[in-house]
């Protein structure tokens, strides 16, 4: 098949309304060393049918090997997540390395200025820690192994912004984490590069989680912009509160059960809800102040 017979998909939105899949695909084409984007929409009883409808409209085949971002709506997730996963697993063209996101509506994909959404998610993740990107394969692995995963959430009400993450449990949307909860989640997942927590500016952070003396030991080493003796206590208290909050709802928000199962074979044989009650936490949080030794001008 020739290149001019293909519509190379950059981002794809999938919604599910009135028993029909609604597809919005942003395709990319290179003309005279410049990229031009085109938005295609179609509907179908299955994803394949919707894809075929685009092919009939455009007389071109949708090529998803270069897909960067897949946006799903809560309706699509709650009603058809398994079918969507199946479509990408069975499609030989799909490389399953694209990022995922959740949004109430996929209409924002029709606006051409929103092409760098995947990059925006990554920038917010790296600079603020208030969201976390996820790739299709990791999302699937979490769902298969722990029955719980998450999707970065896109707000589209006034303007398009990336806002925290939504938990997906048993192939259904579950809780929407607040920005602070997302920062704590990223702390635990060793995913903080820069963030603002309480009144502290965290410039870097490293987290190690180990099973030690029948307890889960969380060791965090953070570099702060300003000294704060209370940082360790604040962080410990907030993590505990968040863990307890979700524990009451039988949600293993930090995947501690996996750590217990890896460390202890007999525990791995018990079912998940029993295991969560056995989790006890211990903390060793150290913070240090960032020293810029290359600074040429010292503040008087």
């Amino acid at each position: 098949m020739e290149l001019n017979q293909l519509d190379v998909v950059d981002s794809l939105g999938i919604d599910y309304q009135n028993n029909l899949f609604v597809l919005t695909a942003t395709t990319v084409e290179k003309k005279d060393e410049q990229y031009s984007y085109q938005v295609l929409t179609s509907t179908g009883a299955t994803i394949q049918e919707a894809v075929e409808n685009i092919k009939i409209q455009e007389n071109k085949k949708l090529y998803i090997a270069h897909l960067n971002l897949l946006v799903l709506t809560p309706r699509a997730v709650n009603q058809k997540l398994e079918e969507i996963i199946e479509y990408f697993l069975e499609n030989t063209e799909s490389r399953n390395d694209f990022s995922l996101a959740l949004s109430e509506s996929i209409d924002f994909l029709k606006i051409n200025e929103q092409q760098n959404l995947q990059e925006s998610i990554q920038i917010i993740e790296e600079d603020l820690g208030t969201t976390k990107s996820i790739q299709f394969e990791d999302f699937l692995k979490d769902l298969l192994e722990q029955n719980i995963s998450y999707l970065p959430t896109i707000e589209t009400e006034n303007e398009v912004t990336v806002h925290s993450i939504t938990l997906i449990e048993n192939y259904q949307t579950s809780f929407h984490l607040s920005k602070e909860e997302c920062i704590l989640y990223n702390f635990l997942k060793n995913n903080i590069q820069k963030t603002a927590f309480e009144e502290n500016i965290v410039l870097s952070s490293e987290t190690f989680i180990r099973f030690k003396n029948q307890k889960i030991n969380i060791a965090i080493r953070a570099t702060l912009a300003k000294e704060n003796d209370d940082f360790a206590n604040q962080l410990e208290r907030k993590i505990k509160e968040m863990f307890e909050k979700y524990k009451e709802q039988k949600i293993d928000i930090f995947n501690f059960q996996k750590i217990l199962k890896v460390a202890n074979y007999s525990l791995s044989q018990t079912n998940q809800t029993d295991l969560l009650d056995q989790v006890s936490l211990s903390f060793s949080i150290h913070s240090e102040v960032y020293k810029n030794e290359n600074k040429e001008v010292l503040w008087p």
Partner: protein
């Protein structure tokens, strides 16, 4: 013809590789989950024991193909056709899935057969020499891929090492043992004299091969995780999708999977050669070799047109071949 131990061992390595991936890492992982690592160690140990036993009986003796009973030869020919049929379909499916999606099946089938007939026509020397070149290509490709894959390994995905019951581990170990021993079915074609030095060399080679596959499985499971390994048809190729370096070395999975294709081709050509050798040793005159070769290909195409060999039938045929060759081909003593 005088064979070097290294050449034969490289051929055995490629045959083991083909058998391992034809069975599929996902077959082992679905059977024994994360315990597949232990199952492989157990299977390799059992394989080493049986191989030592086999070499004990072969010591200072030669295996010659012409000593095979006619009935056994007929059975080998019959079962080999099913093996060739499965292998042909698998290679075609592998290329369609991983390399080129839209290609005619018939074109693919005839291309594979054309290459195989050409190599087989050159004789065992041709197969061994091409296997040596295939091996060098594969080592280069895998070495490059592994350099980029090492940082992506997460050993949490492999632990705990025991997460299923012992029966499943034993089943998986048995399956692995058969796969690791099956390539030794091809040794009689070389008519080697089995002195102590050669036996030691082959035992070491067997262990090195097993260490490689253990290491390979560890890489696949630690990168993908057990649930994704269970899910994919080709997890061994899927890991290559993760090879990425500064957006320059990217989307190279088709290139890296060439190594497997070469291993499958070695297995296919060697089996085709085996069938031809048995046919010309027992039933058709050596002078009519070309006719015999085209006769096999004709029967293979007819079989392929009517019947698709399943993985279970293929595996059963492979076990039967191993048993027939072990119990009916008697080694003969000969002083050097």
């Amino acid at each position: 013809m005088k064979w070097r131990n290294l050449e034969i061992h490289i051929l055995l390595f490629l045959l083991t590789m083909a058998l391992f991936f034809l069975t599929g890492i996902h077959t082992f992982s679905r059977m024994s989950q994360k315990s597949m690592i232990l199952a492989m160690i157990l299977g390799a140990s059992m394989g080493y024991f049986f191989l030592s036993l086999y070499f004990y009986f072969l010591k200072n003796k030669i295996l010659k193909l012409k000593n095979i009973p006619t009935l056994s030869a007929l059975m080998i020919l019959f079962f080999s056709l099913f093996i060739l049929n499965y292998c042909l379909d698998y290679i075609a499916g592998f290329i369609t899935y991983n390399v080129v999606n839209s290609i005619s099946y018939s074109l693919l089938l005839f291309s594979i057969l054309f290459v195989a007939i050409f190599v087989v026509y050159k004789g065992l020397g041709g197969i061994v020499r091409s296997a040596f070149l295939y091996f060098l290509t594969m080592v280069f490709l895998l070495a490059v891929a592994f350099v980029f894959l090492f940082p992506k390994m997460d050993f949490q995905n492999v632990l705990p090492l025991i997460d299923t019951d012992f029966t499943n581990i034993l089943k998986s170990a048995g399956l692995y043992m058969i796969i690791s021993l099956t390539p030794y079915f091809y040794l009689p074609f070389f008519e080697l004299y089995w002195n102590d030095k050669r036996i030691r060399y082959f035992k070491k080679g067997f262990l090195l091969t097993q260490v490689f596959f253990l290491f390979y499985t560890l890489i696949v499971v630690s990168i993908l995780g057990i649930s994704i390994t269970n899910l994919y048809a080709y997890p061994e190729v899927s890991i290559f999708k993760k090879v990425s370096f500064l957006n320059i070395v990217d989307r190279m999975e088709s290139v890296f999977s060439l190594g497997y294709f070469l291993a499958f081709m070695t297995y296919f050509t060697m089996t085709l050669y085996g069938v031809l050798e048995i046919l010309t040793t027992k039933f058709i005159a050596k002078e009519k070799r070309t006719v015999a070769l085209f006769l096999i290909v004709f029967f293979l195409l007819v079989l392929n047109g009517f019947y698709k060999t399943s993985i279970v039938v293929w595996f059963l045929c492979q076990i039967l071949l191993l048993l027939i060759s072990c119990f009916t081909l008697k080694p003969i003593s000969k002083q050097r």
